[in-house]
């Protein structure tokens, strides 16, 4: 297969405001993943003596949350419930023009090319602090009873890999889906109760401090999320923050 790539190129020099460059990607097997396609393009760029395109990647099996670009206007590309590394070139049309851009958000500054600094997410997680659990030898399985529905929903929330697609796809670059997943994951299970109300306050404060936008209930986040985390969790975050007002 053959594609025309329009790739965002930006050097680490803070004065560089970046630009799109056009690359031809020819002889691409339909079975290559999107990132492998970029690898092939990069090998050819290196052979030519050009700078390869910098992009984030790690596990390449859709579970680490490291990769991600906006491809033809969709975070992680057009295929729903899929990270960029799990997107394959067969799902594109032969000869298609593909626009590849980094996540765009004030809170996610571009490092180089398609790589962005997502440490704002780390700061939110750090702001959540610790949870009080007994450490030491492993506890017995099912020693703490947890209702099945709560365990299921907490697990669904825990599937968040922190890739940032919710922020990238949100018209307001809001991080509410990410934060709501973390709040739900810990807030639904007994182990998360002792710090529950402080945690929602400090994590929301860190989210706002980082410069993410506000939620306007567009739902683009849940549509873009590779783990298909539902925006119902945002209602849960809103509820927890409101309840925290009434708690010490």
């Amino acid at each position: 297969m053959k594609f025309t790539l329009k790739v965002w190129r930006q050097t680490a020099n803070p004065k560089d405001t970046g630009r799109f460059r056009t690359y031809e990607a020819s002889d691409i097997s339909p079975d290559t993943s999107f990132l492998e396609m970029l690898d092939i393009v990069n090998e050819r760029l290196i052979e030519r003596g050009d700078d390869p395109i910098a992009f984030d990647h790690d596990c390449r099996e859709g579970i680490c949350g490291t990769c991600g670009c906006v491809v033809n206007g969709f975070a992680h590309g057009h295929q729903e419930g899929t990270t960029l590394c799990q997107l394959h070139m067969r799902s594109f049309d032969d000869g298609q023009i593909i626009w590849i851009e980094p996540w765009r958000a004030r809170a996610f500054p571009v490092i180089t090319d398609l790589m962005v600094d997502r440490s704002a997410f780390d700061r939110i997680i750090q702001a959540g602090g610790f949870i009080s659990i007994r450490t030491g030898s492993p506890p017995d399985g099912n020693a703490i009873p947890i209702p099945k529905d709560d365990a299921d929903l907490a697990f669904e929330a825990a599937a968040c890999i922190g890739c940032g697609a919710c922020v990238a796809s949100c018209p307001n670059a809001s991080a509410m889906l990410f934060v709501s997943a973390k709040i739900t994951q810990l807030g639904l299970v007994p182990q998360g109760q002792p710090e529950r109300w402080d945690r929602v306050r400090t994590m929301v404060a860190a989210m706002e401090e980082a410069g993410f936008g506000a939620c306007t209930n567009n739902g683009e986040c849940e549509a873009a999320c590779p783990k298909e985390i539902p925006m119902d969790l945002i209602a849960r975050l809103n509820r927890d923050l409101a309840c925290s007002l009434l708690k010490k």
Binding site: K6, W8, G18, F20, V70, N72, G73, F74, E80, W99, E101, R104, A105, R106, A107, V110, P171, N172, A173, S174, V204, A205, E208, G211, F212, G213, A214, C215, T216, N217, N218, G219, E220, E222, A223, A224, M231, D232, I234, A235, R236, L237, N238, R239, D240, L241, A242, L245
Partner: protein, 219 residues
């Protein structure tokens, strides 16, 4: 408690909740206003009598007016705060951005607001105080409404503004449960239907009434 409330309002979630509660109050007033105005169909005695009855309770009228003014003020103030923040949250825009789930109503909320606010000023000067009305007579509500809507472009302004209002109401009535944290899988699928019905009833009545006059059904 007061500092906690202020701190809560300083968050985007707090501002959104204020918008949800005030928006809900304003929407309920709009529903009552639209249903009350349906009495235009009952003729001059019916509508003027209804207006006289309301104005016979000045305490209620002023309580509602002040309440609405307060709700509107908080709604607008919060909207401006959130809008400024959202405007700066993505300094470099996408070359290509495609949407999957968002609605036209959701994306135009911020533009619907000022359009409705401008219309509100016009509407009050038109039917409440009468400065922009050619033949305004205090207390003669039916005559004022019919004379007002007979001017085709006035009706057009009302119809256009109420279309905008219906879109604004649709997203608002869908959103408030989510924002207040009261969404639930049990009834979430009814929320868009409820929102469309609410926006349809309010917008529909407000567009129907100028049409009734324009088409000569009420004169």
């Amino acid at each position: 408690m007061a500092t906690a409330a202020l701190k809560f309002y300083s968050t985007t979630i707090g501002k959104k909740m204020v918008m949800a509660v005030t928006g809900l109050l304003l929407a309920l007033f709009l529903l009552g206003h639209a249903l009350g105005n349906l009495q235009l169909l009952g003729g001059p005695q019916q509508l003027d009598g209804y207006a006289a009855k309301l104005h016979g309770l000045p305490a209620l009228v002023w309580a509602v007016r002040l309440g609405l003014l307060l709700a509107l003020g908080l709604h607008v103030l919060s909207a401006i705060g959130l809008w400024l923040r959202n405007r700066s949250s993505r300094p470099v825009r996408y070359q290509v951005q495609r949407f999957r789930e968002t609605t036209y109503a959701a994306r135009t909320m911020i533009w619907g607001g000022p359009i409705i606010a401008l219309f509100l000023v016009y509407h009050l000067l038109h039917f409440t105080t009468g400065q922009v009305h050619g033949s305004f007579e205090k207390g003669h509500v039916y005559a004022n409404v019919v004379a007002g809507f007979k001017v085709w472009w006035v009706s057009l302004v009302y119809i256009g503004a109420n279309l905008t209002l219906a879109f604004h109401l649709y997203h608002g009535m869908w959103s408030w449960l989510q924002t207040l944290g009261m969404g639930h899988p049990k009834y979430n699928r009814w929320r868009p239907i409820f929102a469309a019905a609410f926006a349809g009833v309010v917008g529909g009545i407000n567009i129907f009434l100028p049409l009734v006059v324009l088409l000569g059904i009420r004169r």
